[in-house]
């Protein structure tokens, strides 16, 4: 076949022969092994080098068509995926639809099958319902990358978070990470818990009890009520965005009071006995969960997370695309 003539960087070719993901889709971190995650990281190392070169593009996904289906609003995740796809030379199509206009699953399967019928190999999907990506993977013929499904998982976010920790500390194993904020409605929290634990980190959560799943401890996670205690415990604090739009009940009286109790500012950080790392999946509500002087400080690696996001997504797409080609050959 024509595309086999394309010469890829030799080190990547070698990896592809030696290593393969244990899964056919990226639906959630809980379906991955620790080896899968290491493989994605190793691959991301390569892509991170590439995207820092003057010529950022590689032909790895030439002849692969990727559809980005966003049934929920997204700016940065969509942009990050699109950049990753384009830097891998994939053909990219985009579909966006507000959650409200997609009524029932019939529409979802039909919509996606319509797009697949146009010979799409991979689908990156964001959807407001938990398990939507799992559901699609069982009903359509394409590789699925979950870009966030309701309150279930957001695997690429967790991968890039863990990758950023690995980048800063050399390894994730043994690190103490606290996730702060709305754990109840957070797919980022859930994926992070799975990912960090698989890599040997210790994870705690901190936030108002109204925003904690009652059975969170069954995931092997400790709930620390007090922000200062949580920050003193951890090496890294991953601070979540307070998503007022995803709350159907009032879980706390006001943003002002949330910021008073769980907002992180310079004063709290300088009162700690060590220097911790601050992470945030974005977009930040400045003055709510983080003050600007914290978000913009050297302790924060928020922009590194964004940069690593592209490399991680390239790695994931590349590894899954390998499986597309094999089936077709």
């Amino acid at each position: 076949m024509e595309r086999n003539k394309w010469k890829r960087p030799s080190n990547i070719d070698k990896f592809r022969k030696m290593n393969e993901l244990s899964v056919e889709h990226l639906l959630g971190i809980k379906y991955l092994t620790a080896e899968d995650i290491s493989l994605i990281f190793k691959m991301a190392d390569n892509f991170k080098k590439i995207i820092n070169q003057p010529i950022k593009k590689v032909p790895s996904l030439r002849d692969i068509t990727v559809a980005n289906l966003f049934f929920e609003n997204s700016t940065r995740t969509k942009l990050s995926f699109e950049l990753a796809e384009k830097r891998l030379s994939a053909d990219v199509v985009n579909f966006s639809s507000a959650a409200s206009s997609v009524k029932k699953g019939e529409t979802l399967i039909d919509t996606v099958n319509n797009i697949i019928a146009m010979k799409v190999d991979m689908v990156v999907v964001r959807h407001p319902n938990p398990g939507a990506s799992v559901f699609l993977s069982r009903n359509i013929d394409a590789k699925i990358v979950n870009a966030g499904d309701g309150t279930h998982e957001h695997p690429t976010q967790a991968l890039l978070d863990a990758y950023s920790i690995r980048e800063k500390y050399g390894e994730v194993k043994g690190k103490k990470v606290v996730i702060i904020g709305d754990i109840l409605h957070s797919r980022v929290a859930l994926s992070n818990i799975y990912c960090l634990q698989k890599l040997g980190a210790e994870v705690s959560v901190c936030g108002p009890s109204t925003l904690m799943p009652k059975y969170i401890s069954t995931l092997g996670v400790k709930h620390i009520n007090n922000l200062k205690d949580a920050l003193n415990w951890c090496d890294i604090a991953n601070v979540l965005r307070i998503q007022l739009e995803r709350q159907d009940v009032k879980y706390f009286p006001s943003l002002r009071e949330y910021a008073m109790v769980f907002g992180i500012n310079k004063e709290i950080l300088s009162g700690l006995n060590k220097e911790i790392t601050i992470m945030h999946p974005g977009p930040i509500n400045r003055g709510v969960e983080l003050t600007s002087d914290v978000a913009d400080s050297g302790q924060a690696i928020i922009l590194n997370q964004v940069e690593n996001g592209v490399a991680i997504r390239m790695a994931v797409l590349y590894l899954l695309a390998g499986k597309v080609k094999k089936n077709g050959e």
């Binding site: 699953g105 979802l108 399967i109 319902n129 938990p130 398990g131 059975y215």
Partner: protein
């Protein structure tokens, strides 16, 4: 129809032939003779290996979706499913379109089921359009044949509405049923709140949503000095609350849906919508407590909660999928497989035939000379595999296709008819 049933073991715990092998002669819908050996010329003979016989089984909670959703099920297809499963009677829940909230709807259902071998009983809704506000014309509907009143899965949230209904029904001995589920606590939940809901990010229905309302219902029942039937009990604490109330002499009864006894939320690990039911599948300790509750008599009835759904309502994202599975055809085989080690055959028959008939004040038959022949014939030990081809229902929303079951209905006898199933 005249028939001679040969060598059947009679399971009739309150009758004089209980656990004995008998020949039974039926003429024109009446049991003419029960004896160790009957010789009768010119009569059809029915015999089968390991033949057992009990009074006809009665499902206290079934949905036949007729009128309104006949593409999922109608009264005829539902009756075929019931017959196949060995049920000679069903109580149909009111959630149709229009809702069974007036005497005309009750009459429609009864007239459509009239010719069928399965006795169709309509439950009326408790409130108009099942809105939980205004009581239906219960007296009129009872006269039209409504056997019980319930808003089914739309649990009555407002305390004073249930209080009034309990008081009002006292005057004509109507049966009020309520599914305890506090909607402000359950609030859009999809599965049991626990490890699985946490791991999958699915919204949980806390056991507390049920238990908090059981407390209320018991208080209301005690205050009104009325009787109340609690439907679809699913938690360990619910069982102990009901046990305590019964001990205090409060006139309360309860049922459980079969799938809530034999399945847990572990089934949902892969977002499998076939296991999405309400009340949700809970934990193993809940199942164990429910079985104990049945054994001790805290729970009176096992129902199927037969809930046909079309493919579109199940093959969809979990949050959008409908609750419910079909259950009539698999009920007895599943009971045999999962419960026969805990409950005796006589106890099983009590839960699926005798108690529901008592609670619904239906003609209480025995297997004795002169009684109406409303009977189920079965083999409790036969092992078989449930196949899609066995499904008589219009819908196929069951997780049990391919499942090995133990025990099967062989024939039913009702309304002067005899049908091998």
């Amino acid at each position: 129809m005249n028939i001679l049933i040969k060598s059947a073991r009679v399971i009739d715990p309150n009758g004089k032939h209980h656990n004995k092998i008998r020949d039974i002669l039926i003429k024109n819908g009446i049991i003419k003779k029960v004896a160790a050996k009957i010789k009768e010329a010119k009569v059809k003979i029915y015999e089968a290996k390991n033949l057992h016989i009990s009074i006809g089984w009665m499902d206290m909670h079934a949905n036949f979706r007729d009128p309104g959703f006949e593409y999922k099920e109608d009264i005829n297809s539902g009756c075929r499913a019931a017959a196949k499963g060995g049920f000679t009677g069903v109580l149909l829940m009111p959630k149709n379109n229009p809702i069974t909230d007036n005497n005309a709807q009750v009459e429609y259902i009864h007239s459509k089921g009239k010719e069928n071998i399965v006795s169709v009983h309509a439950a009326g809704s408790l409130t108009k359009a099942m809105q939980g506000k205004d009581m239906v014309e219960m007296y009129d509907m009872k006269n039209a044949g409504a056997t019980a009143f319930t808003d089914d899965k739309n649990s009555v949230q407002q305390n004073d509405v249930l209080k009034s209904a309990l008081l009002y029904a006292k005057d004509f001995d109507g049966l009020i049923m309520n599914y305890p589920n506090d909607s402000s606590i359950a609030n859009g939940g999809q599965i049991h709140e626990g490890t699985i809901s946490t791991a999958l990010g699915l919204k949980g229905i806390p056991a507390m949503a049920e238990e908090i309302m059981i407390d209320r219902d018991i208080s209301l029942c005690q205050y009104t000095d009325s009787k109340l039937h609690l439907s679809y009990i699913s938690t360990k604490n619910s069982v102990s609350k009901i046990k305590k109330a019964k001990k205090q002499g409060i006139n309360i009864s309860a049922d459980v849906a079969l799938h809530n006894i034999i399945l847990t939320d572990e089934q949902i690990t892969h977002f499998d919508t076939r296991y999405k039911v309400l009340p949700p599948l809970r934990s193993q300790s809940d199942c164990t407590a429910l079985i104990k509750g049945l054994k001790e008599g805290t729970i009176d009835v096992i129902c199927t909660d037969h809930s046909p759904e079309d493919e579109e309502n199940k093959k969809t994202e979990f949050d959008n999928a409908a609750f419910g599975i079909i259950g009539l055809e698999t009920a007895f085989g599943l009971i045999g497989k999962h419960l026969s080690k805990h409950l005796s055959l006589a106890e099983i028959i009590e839960k699926i035939a005798i108690n529901p008939r008592k609670l619904l004040q239906l003609e209480s038959t025995k297997i004795e000379e002169g009684d109406t022949a409303n009977l189920t014939l079965f083999n409790p030990d036969i092992e078989w595999e449930f196949q899609k081809a066995d499904i008589q229902s219009k819908s196929v929303n069951t997780p049990f296709i391919g499942e090995k079951l133990k025990g099967k209905a062989l024939a039913i006898c009702n309304k002067g008819k005899f049908l091998e199933v």
